[in-house]
């Protein structure tokens, strides 16, 4: 844990350095596309009223000055499969974004979508020696959380304190200076496969970039798509991506659960390709242009030219009806939503005060999806678009850029994590000098 603590602290320092330079890159490496945004931070407190984008609760202190997107290569199921291919794709997109921004990007914040994430709720408790909660006590209680065995090769991606309790007063956001005898905390820890992070890190290093932060894609999508009330009262964000579907549950502005369903839009395309015996690219086109969930009588008569270049006239001049496409897509989408339902049930989503469900990601653009989702997931379903941020081009504001926008918000205002607090002194075994200093400060 200490090793990870140091790594994450180093990343936080990197992020601070990048903010000081004023330029930071956002790299959303997905299974179907890679997006890169270049953010420019121009000092805090300056708000611009540009084309209808207000100050947005202080989230507009940055501006997007470069944006590029490209087709992902060498990715499968949210993880890197072929390193060299992914590296090329990253180079393409970073070079394009840099060219548009006209500045060099040195620090990037990336997100990891796959890597078999698993959520843990940890609890810790300490007795307060001074009868009052100090900053040091907060760090101690976070360190006192008893971590279960995460398994071999697992890395902690997020460790966010969700709730603090002093004596019997629970639900505190900030326990500092509260009087009491006992401090307890709940922490949400998200672990992912260490190798997936290592691969991503290697890929980014190979592009001469430095990682200034890493976040889970489901978390980023939730931050971008859920409005403030939804985050406060409890909501789930379903990020329907290409390689998989991310699920994250928010309450009291904290993520309390995140998971990943390994069925995504690519599987739907694959089904169409197999079912209609068309090339993958054609199937993708059919899905995006003519896809749907609810078939009507009119769709039977809506014939689509499949086309093709096999050279076989019979094969190339085929046409399928739209209801054929819908008939293939619908069971797969149902399956995805059923899986999501299971994850939500496992997380105890039913017991949340508000059960808002927000669909985002590229898959949420399938017409009629919200109707199907209402039937499977619950009554309160909406299709969400990411928050508007300053300077982002209009074609980059559709739901498939939710995690990129979320990462931009994460870069500007990261939530407190375990490693943002000073580790208690007894954990520093080797640093006797600092311990001596602390002893002096506490006793004199």
């Amino acid at each position: 844990m200490t090793d990870l603590y140091q790594t994450q602290r180093a990343m936080r320092n990197m992020r601070r350095a990048a903010m000081q330079r004023g330029v930071i890159g956002i790299l959303d490496i997905g299974t179907s596309k890679i997006a890169c945004l270049v953010l420019k931070f121009d000092g805090s407190g300056t708000t611009r009223e540009a084309d209808g984008v207000g100050p947005m609760a202080g989230q507009a202190e940055f501006k997007v000055i470069g944006a590029a997107t490209t087709r992902a290569r060498g990715m499968r199921g949210g993880e890197i499969e072929t390193m060299a291919e992914t590296e090329r794709a990253v180079r393409t997109v970073v070079a394009a974004a840099q060219k548009m921004a006209g500045v060099r990007v040195d620090h990037v914040i990336a997100c990891l979508s796959g890597g078999r994430p698993s959520s843990y709720g940890l609890a810790g408790e300490i007795t307060l020696e001074q009868g009052k909660v100090t900053e040091h006590d907060v760090a101690s209680v976070l360190a006192a959380c008893d971590a279960p065995d995460f398994g071999r090769g697992r890395e902690v991606l997020h460790a966010q304190p969700v709730n603090f309790a002093v004596d019997h007063r629970s639900g505190l956001g900030d326990p500092r200076d509260h009087a009491g005898n006992r401090l307890a905390c709940d922490m949400h820890v998200l672990t992912v496969d260490g190798d997936a992070i290592g691969n991503l890190l290697h890929c980014i290093r190979r592009c001469d970039l430095e990682l200034a932060g890493i976040a889970s894609a489901s978390y980023a999508a939730g931050r971008a798509s859920l409005v403030e009330d939804e985050q406060e009262l409890g909501a789930a964000c379903i990020d329907l991506g290409g390689g998989g579907t991310g699920v994250s549950i928010f309450i009291k502005k904290h993520m309390i659960y995140a998971d990943w369903v390994r069925i995504g839009g690519h599987l739907i395309t694959q089904d169409i390709s197999q079912g209609l015996r068309v090339p993958y690219a054609v199937a993708e086109r059919l899905k995006t242009l003519n896809g749907g969930i609810e078939a009507t009588g009119r769709d039977d008569r809506d014939m689509i030219e499949v086309g093709g270049d096999t050279g076989d006239w019979e094969s190339d001049r085929r046409s399928v009806s739209r209801s054929d496409v819908i008939g293939i897509m619908r069971p797969r989408v149902e399956e995805i939503l059923e899986e999501v339902r299971q994850r939500l049930d496992a997380a105890g989503f039913d017991s949340l005060p508000s059960q808002q469900i927000v669909l985002t990601g590229g898959g949420s653009q399938i017409p009629g999806l919200d109707g199907l989702a209402t039937r499977i997931l619950g009554p309160n379903v909406r299709c969400g678009r990411p928050l508007r941020i300053d300077g982002l081009a209009h074609q980059l504001t559709d739901p498939s850029f939710a995690s990129a926008v979320g990462l931009a918000l994460f870069a500007a205002h990261p939530q407190d994590e375990w490693w943002d607090f000073e580790m208690p002194a007894d954990r520093y075994s080797a640093r006797s000098l600092r311990r001596a200093y602390r002893w002096f400060r506490n006793n004199w």
């Binding site: 490209t70 090329r88 180079r91 970073v94 840099q98 060099r104 592009c207 001469d208 050279g311």
Partner: protein, 309 residues
């Protein structure tokens, strides 16, 4: 099937849109402001300076270059359009005209670039007789000079001869004798040229005694004496000379002072005008009083009445 696929040929490999590692690194380097500035400004400037420096380091090339530039300048300057063929002078007397033509530094026809009009103008203004001059080159290759000459108003006799002065006191020309310009009044004395305006005013004020006026004499660089014929003088004060002059004229009108045997009217003290009488008048008075007479030098003569009869 083989023939079918042959018909289409091998699928053309798509160009990889990803930049190569080297290209990517170069692009990123290019985005560094320092490199960018160096490559865009520093390097070209250095190369340019070095090339020019190496080229110019050879003596022959330098000479060739300067020759070439000189030749080019010469060629442009000696074009037909810039030639000045003649000089017209307006408002100048023959002597000034001659001097002006002599002052022109080049022989006409010459290029207008060789004639420095400002220097020429300053040189011409150094001539005493010229008050202002307007020099310009008119289209058609004509150097036009419009000269305003100084008008002599006074003659000034001083230790080195006689000069003509204009009304501001500037020298116009020298004259050999008074008779050359009998129409001009004459003044004399050191510093008389500094106060020509007062002298002219005094001469204007002379009025009825003008026919008898021979000239004005500056005394001690501070006041004027009016010299009349028959050796008579009017001594004027330092200040209020004109008023004193008018007073003298009034005296002349009322009492015909100057018609009598009076050698000097001293008006220096306005309270107390003094008159110095001539020898004859004094002898008449002395004779009436029975005093010995005075000689022409003012000395008492030996008693002629007793010796001579």
């Amino acid at each position: 099937m083989a023939s079918l696929s042959d018909q289409h040929g091998a699928p053309k490999p798509k160009r990889d849109p990803a930049p190569s590692r080297l290209q990517y690194r170069l692009e990123r380097m290019w985005l560094r402001p320092l490199y960018r500035r160096f490559l865009r400004i520093g390097l070209p400037a250095f190369l340019l300076a070095m090339t020019v420096g190496i080229w110019l380091s050879d003596e022959d090339r330098r000479a060739m270059l300067s020759e070439g530039i000189d030749g080019l300048v010469d060629k442009v300057q000696s074009r037909e359009e810039f030639q000045v063929r003649m000089m017209t002078i307006e408002g100048a007397s023959p002597a000034v005209d001659k001097a002006l033509r002599a002052m022109l530094p080049v022989d006409l026809p010459a290029s207008s670039f060789d004639i420095d009009l400002t220097a020429l103008r300053l040189q011409v203004l150094a001539l005493d007789a010229v008050e202002t001059i307007e020099l310009r080159i008119k289209p058609g290759g004509i150097l036009s000079a419009v000269v305003t000459e100084r008008q002599p108003a006074l003659l000034w006799r001083h230790a080195r001869g006689i000069d003509m002065l204009d009304k501001t006191g500037h020298r116009v020309a020298g004259v050999t004798s008074r008779e050359m310009r009998p129409d001009l009044p004459i003044i004399s004395g050191d510093g008389a040229d500094q106060v020509t305006a007062e002298a002219l005013a005094l001469i204007d004020a002379a009025g009825p005694i003008l026919p008898r006026l021979r000239g004005l004499q500056r005394q001690g660089e501070r006041r004027w004496d009016v010299v009349l014929d028959h050796g008579q003088r009017i001594l004027l004060p330092e200040t209020g000379a004109i008023v004193a002059m008018e007073r003298a004229i009034k005296l002349q009108k009322e009492q015909d002072v100057l018609g009598r045997d009076i050698s000097v009217i001293d008006l220096r003290d306005a309270e107390r005008p003094i008159i110095r009488m001539g020898i004859d008048a004094r002898n008449t008075i002395r004779g009436a009083r029975g005093l010995p007479l005075l000689g022409l030098d003012g000395q008492v003569l030996p008693d002629q009445d007793k010796t001579g009869g």
